[in-house]
C-alpha cells in the first residue's frame, strides 16, 4: 500500500512505500500480523466528506474487509465525529472550527450537523478559551480544544499547566479534566519561526497530562478517539505537513492505546525511535540503509508522555543501538528526555552511546534552504546509522 506524501517536495520518490496490512493490530512484541496486503486494491473513491463509517457487525475475518481510503485530516474528522455521535458531552471549541470548517478542515461539516454551541467558534483568545474548555471539563463535558497552530497555545500555557494538568491532583481527585487539546505544530513549508514551533518539548514536563503524536491516518483516528475517551487531559500533536497523507483504514471501529508505540519496521541492527513527520524521513533513509545492507528497526513512539518503555526496551535489548530522530530542538526536547530515560533504564544493553538527531537550536528560518538544514534530513540519518553500527 502506498502512502502519498502530497505536500512533500523534498522526497526523491513520488511517495514513500510502507509495508502495512490493512486491518490488524501491531503487537508490541514486534510481530506484524498481515491482513490483506492493500497493494492490490487501489482506492476506488476518495471519501472527501467523511461520515463516520458504520460499524460492520458481520463476523467475517478481516482479510475480506477492504476498508476505505482517506486523508489524515479526514481520519481525524471521522474519529471526532464518531465520538461526538457516541457521546453528547463531546464538544469542539477553537478558532474558525465552526462555520469556516477548521483551518485544516478537520472540523469541516461538523457545525452544520451539531450546531454552533457544540462546535464553537471562539474569538482569538487562546488563554481564555482554553481556560473555558478546562472549566467545562471540570463539570463533566469533554471538550476538544483546537489551537489553530500549536504555537498559539503558548498563550494558554498557564491554563494548560496549572489548571489542566494539576487540578486533578490539587483537588485530591475531586475533579477530572477529560479535555483534548489538539492542533498542528512542527516545521512546515516556510511558515516562519513563530508558526513552526514544536510545543511537545515545552509541555512535556507538565505533570498530569498525556501527550501523543499522530503520524498516519490510521493512528490519527485511533488516537483521536482514545484521547476523547480518556479521562485524563491529552494533548494530541498533529503536523502541518501530514494532513494530506492518504491511507486505507478499516471500516470497523477501532481505538488505539494512548501509551503504546508503533512498530513500523522490525529489524536487527539498530533501533530508530521517531515520531510524527520524522517517521517519513526515517523510512526514506531506511530504504537507503536496506540497500546498503543494514536492517534498522523503526519504532514510531507515538506516546510522548509517558514513553512506551516496554516496546522501546524490548527493541533496545534486541539491537543494542539506539538512534533517536526527532523534530524538536536538541535542548530540552523529547529526544533529550528519551535519551535520559533509555540510558537510565537500559544502560546495560547499550553497545554504543545513544545518538539523538534533532533540529538545530535556532528559530526556524523562512528561506527554504535554511529551513531544510534546520530539520533532520534522510542523508543525515543514514550517516548516523552507519557510524553507529561500526
Amino acid at each position: 500500500m502506498l502512502i502519498w506524501l502530497l505536500a512533500c517536495r523534498n522526497c526523491d520518490d513520488k511517495g514513500i512505500s510502507v509495508r502495512k496490512g490493512s486491518s490488524f493490530v501491531v503487537r508490541s512484541d514486534g510481530r506484524l500480523s498481515y491482513g490483506l496486503n492493500g497493494r492490490g486494491d487501489r482506492a476506488e473513491h476518495l471519501i472527501t466528506n467523511a461520515v463516520a463509517a458504520k460499524e460492520d457487525t458481520a463476523a467475517a475475518s478481516t482479510s475480506s474487509k477492504p476498508g476505505h481510503e482517506l486523508l489524515l485530516f479526514e481520519a481525524l474528522r471521522e474519529g471526532l465525529e464518531e465520538e461526538m455521535d457516541r457521546d453528547p458531552t463531546v464538544c469542539v471549541m477553537g478558532e474558525d472550527v465552526g462555520h469556516y470548517g477548521g483551518s485544516y478542515k478537520v472540523t469541516k461539516g461538523l457545525a452544520p450537523k451539531y450546531g454552533d454551541l457544540r462546535v464553537l467558534d471562539t474569538p482569538i483568545a487562546e488563554n481564555s478559551f482554553t481556560g473555558m474548555g478546562i472549566g467545562a471539563a471540570m463539570t463533566g463535558l469533554r471538550p476538544v480544544v483546537e489551537g489553530m497552530n500549536m504555537g498559539f497555545l503558548l498563550l494558554a500555557f498557564n491554563q494548560i499547566s496549572n489548571n489542566c494538568g494539576m487540578l486533578h491532583y490539587t483537588s485530591g481527585g475531586q475533579f477530572k479534566i477529560p479535555i483534548v487539546i489538539r492542533g498542528p505544530g512542527g516545521v512546515g513549508r516556510q511558515l516562519g519561526a513563530e508558526h513552526s514551533q514544536r510545543l511537545e518539548s515545552y509541555f512535556q514536563s507538565i505533570p498530569g497530562i498525556q501527550m501523543v503524536a499522530c503520524s498516519t491516518p490510521y493512528n490519527a483516528k485511533g488516537l483521536m478517539k482514545a484521547a476523547i475517551r480518556s479521562d485524563n487531559p491529552v494533548i494530541l500533536f498533529e503536523h502541518v505537513l501530514l494532513y494530506n497523507l492518504k491511507e486505507r483504514i478499516p471500516d470497523e471501529e477501532y481505538v488505539l492505546n494512548l501509551e503504546e508505540a508503533e512498530m513500523v519496521r522490525p529489524g536487527e541492527h539498530v533501533t530508530i525511535l521517531t515520531y510524527s513527520r520524522m517517521r517519513y524521513h526515517v523510512m526514506q533513509a531506511a530504504k537507503t540503509l536496506v540497500n546498503k545492507g543494514y536492517d534498522p528497526e523503526v519504532i514510531d513512539i507515538r506516546s510522548l508522555k509517558p514513553f512506551d518503555l516496554y516496546t522501546i526496551g524490548k527493541s533496545v535489548k534486541k539491537t543494542h543501538r539506539v538512534l533517536i530522530v526527532e523534530e524538536c530542538m536538541r535542548t530540552g526536547g523529547i529526544g533529550a528526555s528519551l535519551t535520559a530515560a533509555i540510558t537510565e533504564n537500559f544502560h546495560d544493553y547499550l553497545d554504543a552511546p545513544i545518538v539523538c538527531l534533532s533540529s538545530q537550536d535556532v528559530p526556524t528560518p523562512y528561506a527554504g534552504t535554511l529551513e531544510n538544514w534546520t530539520v533532520v534530513q534522510p542523508p543525515q540519518i543514514v550517516t548516523a546509522v552507519e557510524q553507529l553500527c561500526q
Binding site: 486491518s23 490488524f24 493490530v25 475475518s61 478481516t62 474487509k65 464538544c91 454551541l117 457544540r118 464553537l120 471562539t122 474569538p123 483568545a125 488563554n127 481564555s128 478559551f129 482554553t130 481556560g131 473555558m132 474548555g133 478546562i134 472549566g135 467545562a136 471539563a137 471540570m138 463539570t139 463533566g140 463535558l141 498557564n158 491554563q159 496549572n162 489548571n163 487540578l167 486533578h168 491532583y169 490539587t170 483537588s171 485530591g172 481527585g173 475531586q174 475533579f175 477530572k176 477529560p178 498530569g208 498525556q210 482514545a226 475517551r229 480518556s230 479521562d231 485524563n232 478499516p250 470497523e252 471501529e253 477501532y254 481505538v255 488505539l256 492505546n257 494512548l258 501509551e259 503504546e260
Partner: protein
C-alpha cells in the same frame, strides 16, 4: 426570598409596611419577614439597580451571624496556627470580607457554581465545607479537603458546586466562564459566580472571558471583591479606572456595599435572575480585608492602622448584623455572645482534632496524578483481540 439548603423559609405573604425604613417585628416568629434597607443605594452601569429594601427573616439573620462568627474565628485561628508554623506556605485570610460569602450563599443554591481565587477558606465554609477538613488541609493532613495535596489556595468541594481555590491571579475567570458554558450546554437553569479581586481585574483573560460570555449569553456572574489593595498596591495606583463594575463596557454592572450581607444577598439574587435571562453581569463588592494580603504581609506598610480600625468600627459586617438582630429583638446580647463563644469552642475543637490527624502516606505522592480505572477498552478493528484497557 432566597432559599438556602440549610434552612427553609416560608414564603408567607405578610403585608409589608412601607419599605423605606426597617420595620419592627415584635414577635420572634422565625419565619416572619423583616425588611431592611441596605446601607447604601446600589450604583449601576447599563442596568436598573435593584431596590434597596431587602427582605430577610430572623432565622436568616441568625444564620448570617453564626456563619460569619465561625468564619471570623476560623481566620483568626488560622493566623495563630500560621505563626505557630503549623500552616506553611501561603495563607490568605478573609476576615472583613465574610459578608460577601454569606450574602452570596443566601441568594443561590448548591447547584450554582462558585469559583474564586486563593482567598477561599470562608467560601469553602459557606458552601458547606467543614472546619475539620479546612484545618486538616491547611496543616497538610490526609483528611484535608484536598487530601493535603492542595493547601490553602486549593480548597474544592465538587458536590456543592465549589470549584476552588486557584493560585494564579485571574486564571479562575476563564474557568468560571467554562463552568457557565457547561451550564448552558446542559441547559441547566443555574449560574456561575466567578470571583476575583481588584488586582485581578486588570488581567486580560478577564476581558477575553467576558467577551465570550457576552457573545454567547452565558449565565456567568463576575464578582469583583474590591478590597482596594492588590497586595501592596492600592487600586488607584493599579487601575486607570477603579470603577470595576463599569469596566465591562457592554456588560451591565452593579456596585454593592460588600460589608452588608443583605445588600450582597439582594445583588446576587438580582444578578442570578439577570444572568439566566440576559447573560453576564459584573458585581463589584466594595469590601475590606483586615489582615494583610497574606500572612507574610503585615498589611500596614501601604495603609494606616487608623484606616483599618476605622473600617472595623464603622463597617464591620458582623457588627452590622448584630445591630440588626438586637434592633429587631431576634436575640439578646447575651445570646449572641454565647454564640460567639460556642463558635470559638467549635473552631478550637476542630483544630485540636486536625492537629492529631495523620499526615499523608508517601504513596499518596503519586495518587491522583492521572485518573485511573475508568476501563476504556482499546481494540483493533477485528475485535477479536482486546488490546488493553486504558489505565
Amino acid at each position: 426570598m432566597a432559599l438556602s439548603t440549610n434552612r427553609t423559609v416560608n414564603q408567607l405573604l405578610k403585608p409589608l409596611t412601607a419599605a423605606i425604613s426597617a420595620t419592627r417585628c415584635l414577635s420572634s416568629d422565625s419565619t416572619s419577614i423583616i425588611t431592611v434597607e441596605s446601607s447604601l443605594p446600589f450604583t449601576s452601569h447599563k442596568i436598573d439597580p435593584p431596590s434597596r429594601a431587602v427582605e430577610t427573616s430572623p432565622n436568616e439573620l441568625m444564620t448570617f451571624f453564626k456563619d460569619m462568627a465561625e468564619m471570623r474565628r476560623m481566620e483568626i485561628a488560622a493566623d495563630s496556627l500560621y505563626k505557630a508554623k503549623l500552616i506553611r506556605g501561603f495563607c490568605h485570610l478573609y476576615d472583613g470580607q465574610e459578608a460577601v460569602a454569606v450574602g452570596m450563599e443566601a441568594a443561590i443554591t448548591k447547584k450554582d457554581c462558585i469559583i474564586t481565587a486563593y482567598r477561599d477558606h470562608c467560601i469553602y465554609l459557606a458552601r458547606g465545607g467543614g472546619l475539620y477538613e479546612s484545618f486538616a488541609e491547611l496543616m497538610g493532613r490526609k483528611d484535608g479537603c484536598s487530601k493535603g495535596k492542595g493547601g490553602s489556595m486549593h480548597f474544592y468541594k465538587k458536590e456543592s458546586g465549589f470549584y476552588g481555590g486557584h493560585g494564579i491571579v485571574g486564571a479562575q475567570v476563564p474557568l468560571g466562564i467554562g463552568l457557565s458554558f457547561a451550564q448552558k450546554y446542559s441547559k441547566e437553569e443555574h449560574v456561575t459566580f466567578a470571583m476575583y479581586g481588584d488586582g485581578a481585574a486588570n488581567q486580560g483573560q478577564l476581558f477575553e472571558g467576558l467577551n465570550m460570555a457576552a457573545l454567547w449569553d452565558l449565565p456567568a456572574i463576575l464578582v469583583c471583591e474590591n478590597n482596594h489593595y492588590g497586595m501592596g498596591t492600592a487600586e488607584w495606583r493599579a487601575a486607570k479606572s477603579p470603577a470595576y463594575y463599569k469596566r465591562g463596557d457592554y456588560v451591565p454592572g452593579l456596585k454593592v456595599d460588600g460589608m452588608d450581607a443583605l445588600a450582597v444577598k439582594q445583588a446576587c439574587k438580582f444578578a442570578k435572575e439577570h444572568a439566566l435571562k440576559n447573560g453576564p453581569i459584573i458585581l463589584e463588592m466594595d469590601t475590606y480585608r483586615y489582615h494583610g494580603h497574606s500572612m507574610s504581609d503585615p498589611g500596614s506598610t501601604y495603609r494606616t492602622r487608623d484606616e483599618i480600625s476605622g473600617v472595623r468600627q464603622e463597617r464591620d459586617p458582623i457588627e452590622r448584623i448584630r445591630k440588626l438582630i438586637l434592633a429587631h429583638d431576634v436575640a439578646t446580647e447575651k445570646e449572641l455572645k454565647d454564640i460567639e463563644k460556642e463558635k470559638r469552642k467549635v473552631v478550637d475543637e476542630a483544630i485540636a482534632k486536625a492537629k492529631e490527624s495523620p499526615m499523608p502516606d508517601p504513596s499518596d505522592l503519586f495518587t491522583n496524578v492521572y485518573v485511573k480505572g475508568f476501563g476504556v477498552e482499546v481494540f483493533g478493528p477485528d475485535r477479536k483481540e482486546v488490546r488493553a484497557t486504558l489505565p
